[in-house]
């Protein structure tokens, strides 16, 4: 009973709480980083250096009026934000945060589940998020959200191909689909896959930018052309769910990249003997540091690069990334057979 019900429930609660806190503070971090890049201070009023700003934001979104515009499709309109958020959260079920921790004599694994099709599970669950975007735009019964949701879903589907292809190369490298197995393979090979597969890492990360609709690929939210994107008609808590999902998806992309390419919970250079003193740091700290490093890259890119044009985006996805991705899979497979 304790093994099968209580421990997983505790794990789920901890992971959900952790992810939602991370999302809230990621928003603050984004505003701060943007501000620093532009030589501003960013949020400073709520708490010292704006540290309590996320709480104020959440309270504001919760108590705002939740408007359902006239002539929307009520059911779908309500369902869409939920469909966007749920896949982003349940992906965390298979992400390993560290080696098992010892708490009060219990050996508590730092992942909720280690299923043998972990990576495929992530890809397939993440592919469901697109429904929320399409339906949110469609159900709003309004021109701009519909255009934006079409853009968003076309973008997502195009880049999904290259990103999934990159993960296929990584499966070839590790010989397993399990996320824990992925990290263990990097441990036994003594090298993060970001070093052995730099092309795959780069394309995965750029594709991740496009899949999460982040700058420079934030065309679905291009304010100048589309007012505010597929969630223009949403307000209050339902808007908050869309917002939450976008940031949760950024964390998903970063933590999957950390697990698959940056050795998950492993220390830097796991194969180098004289760096073994770094093992004193708990494994989950490495995971969080690496994930936030990648998230910082997301924010940095947003503050630096201008937005792509739509045809440039499609050309990049279909004519550059997908051919490179296919070549990468073929070369990886060939090297696997030869070596």
């Amino acid at each position: 009973m304790v093994e099968t019900v209580v421990i997983p429930l505790v794990q789920i609660v901890i992971v959900l709480f952790g992810v939602l806190t991370a999302v809230a503070y990621l928003v603050l971090l984004e505003r701060k980083v943007q501000a620093w890049v532009q030589v501003r201070l960013g949020p400073m009023r709520v708490g010292p250096h704006g540290i309590l700003q996320p709480i104020a934001d959440v309270v504001k979104l919760l108590i705002k009026e939740d408007i359902t515009p006239a002539r929307v499709d009520k059911w779908v309109f309500t369902l869409a934000p939920i469909i966007v958020l749920v896949p982003a959260l349940i992906v965390f079920a298979v992400i390993p945060f560290g080696t098992p921790a010892n708490i009060f004599g219990f050996s508590l694994p730092l992942y909720i589940s280690d299923i043998n099709v972990g990576l495929l599970y992530i890809v397939s669950v993440a592919s469901l998020g697109v429904y929320g975007i399409i339906l949110g735009g469609w159900a709003s019964n309004s021109k701009y959200p519909l255009l934006s949701s079409l853009r968003a879903s076309a973008q997502l589907i195009s880049y999904e191909v290259a990103v999934t292809m990159m993960l296929v190369s990584m499966v070839l490298m590790a010989g397993t689909l399990s996320m824990v197995g992925m990290v263990e393979a990097q441990q036994s090979q003594g090298m993060w896959y970001a070093f052995t597969q730099p092309v795959a890492f780069a394309i995965y990360f750029i594709g991740g930018l496009a899949e999460t609709n982040r700058a420079p690929f934030d065309l679905p939210e291009a304010e100048q052309e589309l007012v505010g994107g597929f969630h223009t008609e949403y307000s209050g808590i339902r808007f908050a769910l869309f917002f939450l999902a976008e940031y949760a998806n950024m964390i998903v992309v970063s933590s999957v990249a950390t697990t698959v390419f940056l050795g998950g919970w492993l220390r830097p250079f796991p194969g180098v003997e004289w760096l073994a003193f770094l093992d004193i740091v708990p494994t989950w700290v490495w995971f969080i540091v690496k994930t936030f490093g990648l998230l910082y890259l997301f924010l940095w890119i947003r503050a630096t690069l201008p937005r792509y044009r739509y045809d440039q985006l499609m050309r990049l996805g279909w004519k550059v990334f997908i051919p490179i991705a296919i070549a990468n899979v073929i070369v990886t497979a060939a090297l696997k057979v030869i070596l």
């Binding site: 499709d73 043998n116 099709v117 669950v125 592919s127 429904y131 399409i134 079409l150 589907i157």
Partner: protein, 170 residues
């Protein structure tokens, strides 16, 4: 016992959503119910310990094909009246005929399942200790290699054909 309860609950949900697919007035709602049906079918696969199949079911059907359905449904105008010269009873007769064919097929399958010989387990797939994904891999690439390749060539030809038809000038 628990497995039986889960099976019958899932079966009821699958059939319920399948009925909603054909009865919903709004086509987009139909598509959504179809997604729900596919997700519950995936759960049924999990119940049978076919994890790989379950995940692929979600990825290919729910995440891929139905998204394209949704695009078509949203972009095509389905509200226009049916064409005047079409005999309205023709569609009913066609539907009943197709339903009859499917029913006959089900009966045949059921009869075969109860009376016929047990299916021979695929040779290499039964490798001890291999997980679900590996078993599928062995079955596809060792036992059924030729049918698998033929199917993939068929898909390629279909895709090329669609592109040639859709694009007037290449």
């Amino acid at each position: 016992m628990g497995e039986a309860i889960a099976f019958y609950t899932l079966a009821a949900l699958i059939l319920g959503f399948a009925v909603l697919v054909v009865t919903a007035r709004e086509t987009v709602h139909s598509v959504l119910f179809l997604v729900a049906t596919f997700l519950f079918v995936a759960m049924l696969y999990v119940l049978q310990h076919a994890e790989f199949l379950a995940v692929i079911q979600v990825l290919v059907y729910a995440g891929g094909i139905v998204v394209l359905y949704l695009f078509v449904v949203m972009l095509a105008n389905l509200k226009s009246a049916p064409e005047a010269h079409e005999d309205p009873r023709r569609r009913d007769r066609l539907g009943i005929a197709l339903a009859g064919v499917v029913l006959a097929e089900f009966v045949a399958i059921a009869l075969y399942a109860f009376t016929g010989p047990l299916p021979a387990s695929a040779g290499a797939a039964a490798a001890v200790g291999a997980n679900n994904t590996e078993q599928v891999g062995w079955a596809l690439y060792a036992d059924y290699l030729v049918p698998f390749e033929v199917a993939s060539i068929l898909l390629l030809v279909a895709m090329l054909g669609a592109i040639v038809l859709a694009k007037r000038e290449l």
